[in-house]
């Protein structure tokens, strides 16, 4: 039992997951399943972005879906209206996400807790209204059609599902790797310190504003790039992409998987995507189950699947630890792990 637990939390598990990701198209029964998986990976990248600002840094950002839509629209409009190729537009989407994130961040992050959540809720709504009403720029409710797919440079064709799947998998792995680097670095520890207490962090000499803005810009860049990938595969986007429901979806994924953990966003996104897929008719009314699920989770299991697993494993190890090694040390170490590496 302990071996299984240790294995699940070990680096080897990540290699197994990666192998599973690489082999998935071989075992998938239809191209549709591969397509769904690629979409889930794209959303997972967005959830990783939210995890930086909300999970690690503790600021509930309700504009995340808006930044996702901005990334998608950046690619859509640049390729369709301005004749850009996909890859330059993709990079532009990341840059636009970062710049807008910076601008919103320097204003919004001066606000604490509720004020920040409400402010970002309004920012998300402003983004939605602008996309819907500013017809000269965004085509309004018509949406953007026939967006350019990613160019394969003559090697592969990304309009095909399987190559696109591997492209998204590549970006997902890159996104997770980057986050694991950040969370182990001084910057990641700084974010955690801010989540635990603004005042404490400040008394340690942490520049709150600079670090919060950094976390916010990272998260909006993730959102922008994820949105750009979505535009590349779906190739049709409309203003509904910026609706607040997508932000709520992303929060649900994050919370189910485990907020502030490394593997939580992936676990949560994949689980809910496939549950939703399994009951197709359920799609429209999924919130009847997911709404109460969110409530039950925050009351009974606030750390989600991955967080609860790590805490449980930590307790188990602590209770079995030899007497000379103080149990509290192990507990500490594990809760730290749960917070950063996951």
């Amino acid at each position: 039992m302990d071996r299984v637990l240790n294995f699940l939390a070990s680096p080897a598990m990540k290699i197994v997951l990666l192998a599973a990701g690489i082999l998935f198209p071989l075992v998938a029964s239809s191209e549709y399943q591969i397509y769904v998986m690629a979409l889930a990976f794209i959303w997972a990248i967005a959830v990783y972005g939210l995890n930086i600002i909300t999970g690690y840094c503790g600021q509930l950002n309700l504009a995340h879906g808006g930044f996702f839509a901005i990334g998608a629209y950046a690619v859509g409009l640049l390729t369709v209206d301005y004749g850009w190729a996909f890859w330059p537009a993709f990079i532009a989407a990341g840059v636009i996400g970062a710049v807008l994130g910076f601008l919103v961040g320097i204003v919004s992050l001066r606000l604490k807790e509720h004020y920040f959540a409400i402010f970002t809720l309004c920012v998300g709504f402003i983004i939605y209204l602008l996309i819907e009403k500013w017809e000269e720029l965004t085509h309004g409710t018509l949406g953007v059609i026939s967006i350019a797919p990613p160019e394969g440079f003559g090697l592969v064709d990304f309009t095909e599902t399987i190559p696109f799947y591997y492209l998204v998998l590549f970006f997902l792995v890159l996104a997770i790797w980057l986050i694991s680097r950040i969370s182990r670095s001084l910057v990641g520890r700084t974010f955690l310190a801010i989540r635990i207490s603004d005042d404490l962090a400040q008394s340690l000499g942490i520049n709150l504003m600079r670090n919060k803005v950094l976390a916010f810009v990272l998260s909006t860049t993730y959102a922008g790039l994820a949105g750009a990938l979505l535009a590349g595969v779906v190739r049709f986007i409309g203003p509904d992409l910026a609706e607040i429901t997508h932000t709520f979806d992303v929060i649900t994924y994050l919370l189910v998987g485990g907020i502030g953990t490394l593997m939580g966003p992936l676990v949560g996104t994949l689980l809910i995507t496939w549950i939703t897929q399994a009951v197709q008719s359920f799609e429209e009314y999924r919130m009847i189950v997911f709404g109460p699920l969110l409530v039950v989770l925050v009351i009974f299991m606030p750390r989600g699947i991955v967080g609860t697993f790590l805490t449980w494993r930590g307790r188990r190890l602590a209770s079995k630890a030899p007497a000379k090694q103080s149990a509290s040390r192990v507990e500490n170490k594990n809760s730290e792990e749960a917070g950063t590496h996951g």
Binding site: H114, A117, I126, E284, I288, L294, V295, P302
Partner: protein
């Protein structure tokens, strides 16, 4: 000038509805210290309950309003008991996420039962009054009079009755309130009931000149948030004044600046205010 007065009158109508919704929100914030994102869903459910009683069962408008008030008050108390009470010691981010969960649930339930269509709710009062060149439909007059009488009643209740004073005491100082023997559970339930009632009555008043649909609460609740930030979270006069400010800004801005972007005005105002003064307009030091 006439146009200006006409728009000001429209602003007063809007402002009194926003004020009612914001009042409930600010009361709950005073007790819970958490922005209740589910409040807009309660508003929406209020409109649907009225619609159900009045249109589908053919009962009187006032019966519908009272019925909606009671149903939503009970629903609001249930939210407090089942969700916010167990979370009272959790970090604030949990309350916010739980509130979002309630919002998603209520919207999905309503959408499952009634569908996503826009519905029209008739009003029994269809007369139109003329004052010089100003026109005032009876329903708008009803909104203004109804909203302000409710605000007055709430003010009297909070200032003159014992239970009202306990609510104020809890909002002012939690520990102090406990010390003098105030029952926190009772006050919390009472506050949620009042907030729910106000939201449902506000929705029933507003529904005949607006439409009834599952997402109708989104804009209203976001504007209510803008209002309580403007007026200071937890402040009752602030909610009323803030409601009027936003109402006027929307009516006048929508006419003189841009009709397409009139829903943006409140949010741009909020962004501008918070950029200059991160603590909100009337707050006392706390942020």
């Amino acid at each position: 000038m006439d146009v200006f007065l006409q728009q000001a009158l429209n602003g007063l109508t809007l402002g009194s509805i926003y004020g009612l919704v914001a009042l409930g929100l600010t009361l709950v914030y005073g007790i819970l210290h958490v922005p209740n994102f589910a409040h807009g869903a309660l508003y929406m459910v209020g409109a649907y309950v009225s619609y159900f009683i009045m249109v589908e069962h053919g009962l009187n408008y006032w019966v519908a309003m009272a019925g909606a008030g009671v149903v939503v008050a009970v629903l609001s108390v249930l939210c407090e008991r089942l969700v916010f009470h167990p979370l009272r010691h959790a970090p604030p981010i949990h309350d916010k996420i739980a509130a979002i969960g309630i919002l998603l649930f209520l919207e999905a339930v309503v959408q499952m039962h009634w569908g996503a269509d826009f519905r029209r709710m008739p009003t029994p009062y269809t007369e139109i009054f003329h004052f010089g060149s100003l026109t005032l439909p009876a329903q708008r007059l009803l909104i203004i009079v109804g909203a302000f009488s409710l605000m007055g009643a709430l003010h009297l209740y909070l200032k003159k009755t014992m239970t009202g004073s306990t609510i104020i005491a809890m909002a002012q100082n939690r520990e102090g309130a406990f010390l003098v023997g105030i029952d926190a559970n009772r006050v919390a339930m009472m506050t949620f009931a009042i907030a729910g009632f106000l939201a449902a009555v506000g929705a029933t008043l507003f529904a005949p000149i607006n439409l009834v649909y599952p997402a109708m609460g989104h804009l209203v609740i976001m504007k209510a948030f803008v209002i309580i930030i403007l007026g200071g979270m937890g402040s009752i006069p602030g909610a009323i004044v803030g409601g009027l400010i936003i109402g006027f800004a929307e009516a006048l801005g929508g006419y003189y600046l841009s009709g397409t972007y009139k829903d943006l005005i409140a949010f741009v105002l909020l962004v501008a205010i918070l950029s200059i003064k991160p603590t909100g307009l009337f707050t006392k030091g706390v942020r």
